[in-house]
Symmetry: C2
Amino acid sequence: MTSTQLNCRTGGELYFKCENFQKVAAFKARGACNAVFLLDDAAKRGVVTHSSGNHGAALAWAAAKRGITAHIVMPANAPLVKKSAVESYGGKVVYCEPTISAREAACAKLVRDLGLELVHPFNDYRIIAGQGTAALELLEEIPDLDIIVTPLGGGGLLAGTAVAAQGMNPHIRVIGAEPAGADDGYRSFRGGAIVQEATANTICDGLRSLLGENSFSLIQKHVDDIALAGEKNIVAAMRMTWEIMKILIESSSATPLGAILEGNLDVRSKRVGIILTGGNVDLDRLPWQ
Amino acid sequence: MTSTQLNCRTGGELYFKCENFQKVAAFKARGACNAVFLLDDAAKRGVVTHSSGNHGAALAWAAAKRGITAHIVMPANAPLVKKSAVESYGGKVVYCEPTISAREAACAKLVRDLGLELVHPFNDYRIIAGQGTAALELLEEIPDLDIIVTPLGGGGLLAGTAVAAQGMNPHIRVIGAEPAGADDGYRSFRGGAIVQEATANTICDGLRSLLGENSFSLIQKHVDDIALAGEKNIVAAMRMTWEIMKILIESSSATPLGAILEGNLDVRSKRVGIILTGGNVDLDRLPWQ
């Protein structure tokens, strides 16, 4: 989708890839589908992952497509809409404490006890390759982009986008957009090593993860820069997208436009692809209220 | 757009024509554009209309395209987002009391004093013909619809849709969907004469008008039925469209799905076109809050 009004406001020519219209309303359907259908017959015992939400729903959806069961480890404080989504696709929700170590322990236990296949939300080449297909489709339709931007959380989407985009056009600039309140990706990229940090202060619940080793090595090799967005501009960008484009996007999806509004990503006179990553929002708890 | 989930819930095969993505975020751009560009050179003095919002913005937009000025008479209690829209397109807002007679008097005065051309929001064949192009485009893409449904307010969209749709396919059923709290159209259709009624009790601010003579005569001739929707189901349909389809529609646009949820419009096993009329919503005042 495009918007004359957003082009006027930003000075760029913006092309939005609307993954909020994707199955499970998030790009995560791509990676999950790729991973589940690459598994051999041992996968019949089922798959397991930990996820703050969209990857969980996506894995449940993909597993149902293949006729196997997905177990989704999820923090007890995840948005209700994301829990319901997992269950509506037939996934089994397993609750844990809202820490990364608790999630990983719960996953490991399920792998051990039930013989499940772990499908990590981002640190998995099958997932990374799948996520890259959003950029692939965007570039098939709009080949001559100067820049492509995705939000940055665990790094799976950004890594997959970078590989796909630079494979199709070596001159394209690939940028990750990250909340300033969860800037571990920015600092890792600048410092050349993954920053380990347990806290994240952002409304973007999809972008609170630390980088994975596999996604980080691809990001170091193929990504040009990471641009930060403050919470105020993320919320402004989210609301602006709703009001002007008339589409629902979740807060994480607003970080690229947020980084533009923040002045950290110059798109003037550029043709810019932006991946709108998802549209799962709790309509009773909007961030501007 | 289509939605597997909404098809499952309703039992029909629903095809949504997304006029929330139209210029000025409403189908009203179609009629206004047709009317303004059909005017002769006398139109250079400008155009005037009264409108609770979307037609006003549309006329301002269309007038700007032709380089003339639009004066929009609007009740002082119209949603802020609709006033701002008119002004953002260069239209001049003239406030009046929130009654139909006050609107008409203010328009008549401007026609008299400034020599403006009146472009009525719905009771004008140029407007009716323009609005019909939404159905024309939908049927060009999906020719074999069994039913086409539009919201019913002043009747311009329903009349234009009926003429266009039955011109392309004489067997298609054309249905208007109206809030039960503003059922003057339903009663007019059943009774065979326009009901004059000054009050309307509905959140659908775009559907509070009485029918026009010109639109009513076309509706009598070409429309198969009017289906009512209660407020509760209109709000449910609006929220469902946001949550499932990830698009913003205004309450008026939700009346067709509202009538289906109400049990007043049977779409089971039918291919059904639905015109989603607009997406202008005040995000600080959502009807489920």
